[in-house]
């Protein structure tokens, strides 16, 4: 028993997390929890463009959707309500329309139908869908002020309580 515990303690001591790794800076970009959110620049519905990395310092919710996707329709009003609650505290929501598998006119109608007020980037060539390894709609990434993905929710619809809880976690982190 003593020998086993001594070995375990010795191994734990030897395999402590290296200081060099702790100071190695940001994790690599990858579309999963704990990694840097892959950067992109996209044109917005209605004009202008947005670059994700320029939003660093603000918590970001990145929701990928399409107008034909029923769970996307079901969760969008809750996302809009959460945006209204937190936008004054610096929350950014990007509702990336996967235009490559949708239609810009339908996306515009969808936005009008649900009265969405947050920016709607258009992923016309599917590059952002590919970079975020999109496998199903909707998919939502909760990104902290440092640009690190804190939570990924694949599929939907998300309840308003889930969205609020994830957003509160992001807002609670020190700016």
């Amino acid at each position: 028993m003593v020998a086993v515990l001594s070995l375990a303690i010795g191994w734990t001591f030897l395999s402590r997390f290296p200081e060099t790794a702790m100071n190695a800076g940001d994790p690599p970009a990858s579309p999963r929890q704990g990694f840097k959110a892959p950067d992109f620049t996209l044109e917005l519905l209605g004009g202008g463009e947005v670059t994700l990395s320029q939003l660093q310092g603000q918590p970001v919710v990145l929701n990928l959707w399409a107008s034909w996707c029923l769970p996307c329709r079901a969760e969008m009003p809750a996302i809009e309500r959460v945006y209204q609650s937190y936008k004054d505290r610096g929350l950014v929501i990007l509702g990336v329309n996967t235009t490559v598998q949708d239609n810009e006119a339908k996306a515009a109608f969808f936005v009008q139908e649900y009265g969405l007020t947050f920016p709607i980037p258009l992923d016309r060539d599917g590059s952002v869908s590919a970079r975020y390894a999109l496998g199903g709609l909707p998919t939502t990434f909760f990104i902290d002020r440092e640009g690190i993905i804190r939570s990924v929710i694949l599929g939907g619809p998300m309840s308003e309580a889930v969205i609020r809880s994830k957003v509160e976690d992001l807002m609670d982190e020190a700016p």
Partner: protein, 248 residues
């Protein structure tokens, strides 16, 4: 990594499916082992079910308690099927406590019941490893090795594969019982101790460790504590019978 299967409008998350299959296999093995140990198999499987269900409920309620304002405003969110809104540790504790209470009420003998759970627990840990292979969770640290896998934009230790292979070895030992006497609780403690030793060893190759002060990996420290308890328990139980009397 193939985290989901698309069936029309539905996204079936394969890692979750593997875990559910793991639970089913675990319960089947537990019932089989309970019969072998002459325990009431249906009561033992009820104990597992009650532990699982109250564990999930506890995990959801604990998550909601951590985000009270969000859930007070939208109480129906408690019934959401989202697995991202569960507090795992709290759920585990609630499940163990409630299952323990149920076993006490039903006057189930502790040590034989724990032994009945051992093969099922070991099988579930294999399923957990497979679910990690499918999801890419529990990923390894960057490595420059011939067997490193390209995952999340870097070559890494295939820790999910290490984990599954070792868990399969522990399952083999738990199922064949080369060390334990039937029903004295030692088979269960052996599974716990070996699983802790595996975690202590493998955590060194993980790239997602929670780091505690002193650069220690939290999972290793917790595993050492559980390992010490299980080894001590084994030494005590090796000297006594199930009813507490000294052996021979």
């Amino acid at each position: 990594m193939y985290p989901y299967l698309r069936l029309g409008p539905f996204l079936l998350q394969l890692p979750l499916l593997v875990l559910l299959v793991g639970v089913w296999i675990s319960i089947s093995l537990t019932e089989k082992e309970a019969l072998r140990l002459k325990l009431p198999a249906s009561t033992v499987s009820n104990l597992v079910f009650i532990g699982l269900i109250t564990g999930v409920l506890g995990a959801r309620l604990a998550y909601a308690a951590h985000h009270l304002n969000a859930y007070l405003e939208n109480p129906l969110g408690l019934f959401s099927l989202n697995a991202n809104s569960l507090a795992g540790l709290e759920g585990l504790l609630v499940g163990i406590v409630i299952a323990g209470f149920y076993g006490w009420r039903k006057k189930l003998p502790l040590r034989p019941v724990l032994d009945a759970l051992a093969p099922g627990l070991a099988a579930f840990l294999v399923a957990l490893g497979v679910s990690h292979i499918l999801s890419g969770n529990a990923y390894g640290s960057p490595a420059d090795l011939p067997w490193a896998i390209n995952l999340w934009n870097e070559y890494r230790h295939p820790t999910q594969v290490y984990e599954t292979v070792i868990a399969a070895g522990i399952f083999y030992l738990a199922y064949q019982k080369p060390f334990g006497t039937l029903g004295d609780g030692n088979n269960f403690l052996m599974v716990v101790a070996l699983s802790c030793m595996a975690r202590i060893f493998l955590e060194a190759f993980r790239g997602d460790s929670l780091i505690w002060p002193g650069s220690f990996r939290a999972a290793q420290v917790i595993s050492i504590i559980i390992l010490a308890i299980s080894l001590y328990g084994r030494s005590i139980w090796a000297r006594t019978n199930s009813n507490g009397t000294e052996k021979g």
